[in-house]
Symmetry: C2
Subunit: 255 residues, 2 copies
């Protein structure tokens, strides 16, 4: 048999056959005078065996091992291991599909920040009613960031606290007022340390934060110092100052 005949009878491509030669899985047959490989029945048998094993999901190196020690008893081990591996893959796929369905079921209400946790989605849609605001947009992004990197437990605690705090339309409206106050500081003179609007915005922001957040030692779980510096660097100086003051006032309130 030539390589093409072998390939079609066993149901693989000629490239695959040559690949197996290269890896040493299938012995090279004799050559005809013209250089063509000349296969025998044994090659077809071995190739079919390789195909059976690969179709089960074995890697070619595992196939080589199985073919090498012809014990036949080692195969069971490999298959057990493979089954466990497939079980893990199946579980992973199922989990991803569940998350996907959770996203797709809330048809059409995908936040612009991309796919986030159900809790955060609820929070974002609840707070969606309000004027356009750069600070609100940044806040949503940061929440999405925290949502992504926090551990599942702290994520749930944080989002639950925020979710219950902004359930009512009045709370949402107050939050948007805070956003507006902060937005107004975008062009504030950084040298005017006593701009009364800074203090006003800080006070409003601190008032806006729910007490349920007080036990949270870390408002941004998983996010360290460098993140906070980046956060403050990303907003206008006066805005950063207002947020810093609000944080101080908020933690003071805890005592």
């Amino acid at each position: 048999m030539r390589i093409g005949e072998l390939a079609v009878t066993v149901g693989v491509t000629t490239r695959t056959v040559r690949h197996y030669h290269h890896l040493g899985l299938l012995p090279e047959p004799e050559r005809r005078p013209n250089g063509y490989r000349d296969y025998t029945l044994r090659h077809a048998v071995v190739l079919a065996r390789i195909r059976r094993l690969t179709e089960l999901g074995l890697g070619l190196t595992e196939v080589r091992d199985v073919l090498a020690d012809d014990a036949g008893r080692d195969l069971a081990e490999v298959l057990e291991e493979l089954d466990a591996d497939l079980a893990r893959q199946e579980a992973a796929i199922r989990e991803r599909r569940e998350r996907l369905r959770a996203l797709l079921d809330r048809e059409g209400s995908l936040p612009a920040e991309g796919p986030v946790s159900p809790e955060l989605t609820a929070l974002l849609t609840g707070m969606a009613h309000g004027p356009e605001s750069p600070m609100a947009a940044r806040d949503r992004e940061v929440l999405a960031l925290i949502d992504t990197v926090a551990s599942p437990e702290s994520r749930k605690r944080l989002m639950a606290a925020l979710g219950s705090a902004f359930e009512t339309p009045t709370a949402v409206a107050r939050a948007h007022e805070v956003y507006a106050l902060l937005d107004a500081l975008a062009d504030a003179d950084p040298d005017d340390a006593d701009d009364p609007r800074v203090d006003e915005a800080a006070r409003a922001l601190a008032d806006c934060l729910p007490d349920s957040l007080l036990p949270e030692t870390d408002l941004a779980p998983g996010l360290d110092d460098s993140f906070l510096r980046a956060l403050y660097a990303d907003v206008a100086p006066a805005q950063a100052e207002a947020i810093r003051r609000a944080m101080r006032m908020f933690t003071e309130r805890g005592r």
Copy 2:
């Protein structure tokens, strides 16, 4: 933020961040005077978004598309498509696991020919009782080959026919006698065209084949001429002649 800080806060490796730069997924930030990349909050936000998307199973090119047209509406399409893809993968994994379990449940009785169909496994274990025989071994191999390459329907028909034909111990014993007769021809003089043992073996083999195989127009479904030639080339000339005669006698019996 430097690249290491960014990486740990978002939960990826620095290599990943640079990779995303290379692919254009994440914009290159400003550089510090020393050449270090200097990231801002926006980079962390985008990187987290990329992580969310990849964790759902999107490829990086799809991530790029989603990030590019910020419609947010296109995302749903991609996710639907992805879900369908995952469903296919899940089905494939389940099928392979079922085959695996079918193999592993018959604990310890894995044929040396490797994992074959349940039907063939039954046939092989049924015929396992008998003396060691090269011809029997080759026959098992060829059956495994056919089992691999035949279409599911013809595979089932063929294996069912053989399985019912060799259910009884007497039928199995007769088959082993045929193997012995064929083995004895291994060193037969190819020039002695009238060796009576050739005809004896052919007759025994033809008698051994069950009538249920007669409707099968093709005894080796999916295997063509070149395979048959390889088969005959793989055995001793006298053995090949005996098998050829047996096939003729068998098909004549059909009329």
